[in-house]
């Protein structure tokens, strides 16, 4: 419970930083802070946190990188916009009305375009149906674009291909690009490239320069993220960035992955286990989004150009490639075992229910790292600390080299520090790890934990 005098001291402290506190109050504040251990300690703690936070300042950029960023900024079209106002966007009715009218025309033209039979549009870029004359047609100036139609058909467009109307792509430098048509927004470009996507009377969903792929598939009741690394050959930047894919859990949402140039070794995680598959140029793979998590690891892709995007696809139009992917992953489409349900139960503190669920999943033939992780966390919740600790260590070893592996090791290390060290139980478990895994990736970290015990 905070004492009233301490609460007053905090208010006055904030006022005194702005210089508007009366002298009597200032005197009272000084005497209070000197005499109050709680307030003094609180001030020190805050100062420590902010000092550590300030230490995160980024290192200076190299001159080449700075020049590249400068060029990208200066080459962006500078049209007068509204003044920046936090939290207030698109509230000017005249602008909204103008944009809505423009986009209504664009969406009608788009509807007309996608209603044409696929054959009449042609497979190649040169034979694409002509757009409405009033609308600009964009050309892929560099890189590659993956375009999705509203019913889920996907086409990979290469250099020189023409994009459907409504999509503009501008790339003054060499770069790769992704646009998912029919989803809200997608892009992934190398330095200097810029994409702007508008759809059906909404404000531009994305106007970004360089880098990040970002999707937002419709209105999504439940979202979760996945990492994706895009490698653009010859761009000079190598890893463009980690993509954040926001996706819907509604059935039928697919993640499409296409190799446009060369052969790409594509790795992903399926229910916690690693999968990999070479994708040849022109091939498009599809994943169910709620089952697959792309790995956020540099080097997950090697060679070629990989493009990925998400799009809501009605189940009746889902291409057979989705079924093939499930066959590759070796998982039935629907099982009684739901990882999401188990995670929800764990979040609600129903650890015993989670353990029962994990056991029944395994009995049904599903064994995965995700289940192992859930079991370890459930054991930790139930106070079975040693068991959880050993399970996290084993998990860290089996997932070594991945983000999840590091997370598991952190969990183990945290248990060792906070729970086991006092009882003297961590040491022999850690030594057991060193003996069991003579080439373990985390030996150095485990030794570090041992030294600190």
């Amino acid at each position: 419970m905070i004492k009233p005098s301490c609460a007053k001291a905090r208010r006055l402290l904030l006022q005194s930083e702005g210089g508007d506190v009366e002298s009597a109050d200032a005197l009272w504040l000084e005497s209070h802070v000197q005499g109050c251990e709680g307030c003094r300690r609180e001030g020190e703690d805050l100062a420590t946190i902010f000092r550590a936070w300030r230490a995160l300042d980024p290192p200076r950029l190299g001159s080449r990188r700075m020049e590249r960023m400068e060029r990208a900024v200066l080459s962006a079209p500078v049209s007068p916009g509204a003044p920046p106002r936090p939290g207030r966007t698109w509230k000017v009715p005249t602008i909204a009305a103008g944009v809505a009218a423009t986009l209504a025309v664009a969406s009608l033209a788009l509807l007309w375009y996608w209603r044409q039979p696929v054959q009449s549009r042609g497979a190649g870029a040169a034979r694409l149906a002509p757009a409405a004359p009033a609308l600009p047609r964009a050309r892929v100036q560099a890189g590659h674009v993956l375009v999705f139609g509203p019913t889920g058909e996907a086409r990979a467009l290469g250099h020189g291909s023409t994009l459907p109307p409504g999509v503009t792509l501008h790339s003054p430098r060499t770069g790769g690009g992704v646009i998912a048509w029919g989803s809200r927004a997608t892009l992934g470009l190398a330095a200097g490239a810029q994409v702007s996507v508008r759809r059906r009377g909404e404000r531009p969903v994305i106007t970004l320069v360089k880098g990040t792929v970002s999707l937002d598939v419709g209105s999504t009741p439940g979202r979760h993220g996945a990492g994706l690394s895009v490698w653009v050959p010859g761009s000079g930047e190598v890893i463009v960035g980690s993509a954040r894919v926001l996706l819907s859990r509604q059935p039928g949402n697919d993640l499409r992955v296409a190799a446009v140039r060369g052969e790409v070794m594509y790795r992903w995680s399926h229910s916690g286990s690693l999968q990999e598959k070479p994708i040849e140029a022109g091939q498009i793979l599809s994943h169910r989004l709620d089952r697959v998590r792309l790995l956020d690891a540099p080097g997950a892709l090697s060679g070629g150009t990989l493009l990925a995007a998400g799009v809501p696809t009605p189940s009746h139009t889902r291409p057979p490639v989705a079924a093939r992917m499930h066959a590759v992953a070796g998982r039935p489409r629907s099982t009684g075992c739901s990882l999401e349900a188990l995670q929800g139960a764990l979040a609600r503190g129903q650890a015993k229910r989670v353990l029962r669920g994990v056991a029944s999943c395994r009995a049904a033939g599903q064994a995965s790292r995700a289940l192992d992780g859930l079991e370890a966390r459930a054991n930790l919740q139930l106070g079975r600390v040693r068991r959880a600790f050993a399970q996290f260590l084993a998990l860290a070893h089996s997932l070594r080299g991945t983000q999840q592996g590091q997370t598991a090791l952190y969990s183990a290390g945290r248990i060792a520090w906070t729970r086991l060290a006092r009882k003297g139980q961590a040491r022999h478990l850690l030594e057991h790890y060193l003996e069991t895994y003579p080439k373990g990736a985390y030996r150095a970290s485990v030794r570090q934990i041992l030294r600190r015990l």
Binding site: E17, T48, W53, M69, P80, P86, G211, R223
Partner: protein, 211 residues
């Protein structure tokens, strides 16, 4: 706190700023380049101090600078250009925080080498991992605070702006800003004290500071 410059110096700086902005408005490419070059580092630092290490940082820096160039016509010289640019960067950070959902992971390569030094005397990769743990903890603490409170708190406590300046930068009333900062401090401390590892770290820092 940010040192307040003498009024004459401040006026002279604003005059220079206005001249540069006027040149940019007239389409002088050299002036635009000068402006971008001069303020790119500041924008990066402001964004990092509000958001922490973020993989999208290069994009955000570019977005903020483009927004600066687009909005230059709104700069009237009421404040220093760098303050005005920080306001734009803070807005970009705020919008990013609103978009950013779910757990925010910190990639190892984005953690500066100095981040681990506050926690232990370990070296090399281990120190990087230690630093990363701390950064993740701190990021987690700040992620638990709402975007508006977080921006107000960090503009005030880390970037050194006064409460009045923060209120002007965030288009809020001074009383609202004060309240946001106070609540943000309170939530931050509560969350930090709830975490055993952070409490230990704060205790050890306090002992080192005291000793």
């Amino acid at each position: 706190m940010m040192a307040t410059k003498p009024t004459s110096d401040r006026r002279a700086e604003i005059r220079d700023d206005l001249a540069l902005v006027q040149q940019c408005r007239e389409g002088d490419e050299e002036a635009r380049t000068r402006l971008v070059r001069r303020y790119m580092g500041q924008v990066r630092i402001t964004l990092t101090r509000i958001l922490g290490p973020d993989q999208e940082m290069p994009d955000l820096v570019q977005v903020a600078l483009i927004e600066v160039l687009r909005s230059l016509r709104h700069y009237r010289g009421d404040a220093l250009l760098r303050t005005w640019i920080d306001r734009v960067a803070a807005n970009v950070a705020y919008q990013h925080l609103r978009r950013r959902r779910g757990p925010h992971t910190v990639p190892l390569e984005l953690v500066p080498s100095s981040a681990g030094s506050a926690t232990s005397a370990s070296r090399g990769a281990d120190r990087a991992l230690e630093g990363r743990r701390l950064v993740e903890k701190l990021t987690g603490l700040l992620d638990g605070i709402s975007a508006k409170k977080r921006v107000a708190l960090l503009l005030h406590a880390v970037l050194g702006y006064s409460v009045k300046e923060v209120a002007a930068m965030t288009d809020s009333r001074v009383a609202t800003t004060k309240s946001r900062i106070l609540y943000a401090r309170k939530e931050l401390l509560k969350a930090a004290h709830r975490d055993p590892a952070l409490r230990e770290w704060l205790d050890s820092s306090s002992e080192r500071g005291g000793g």
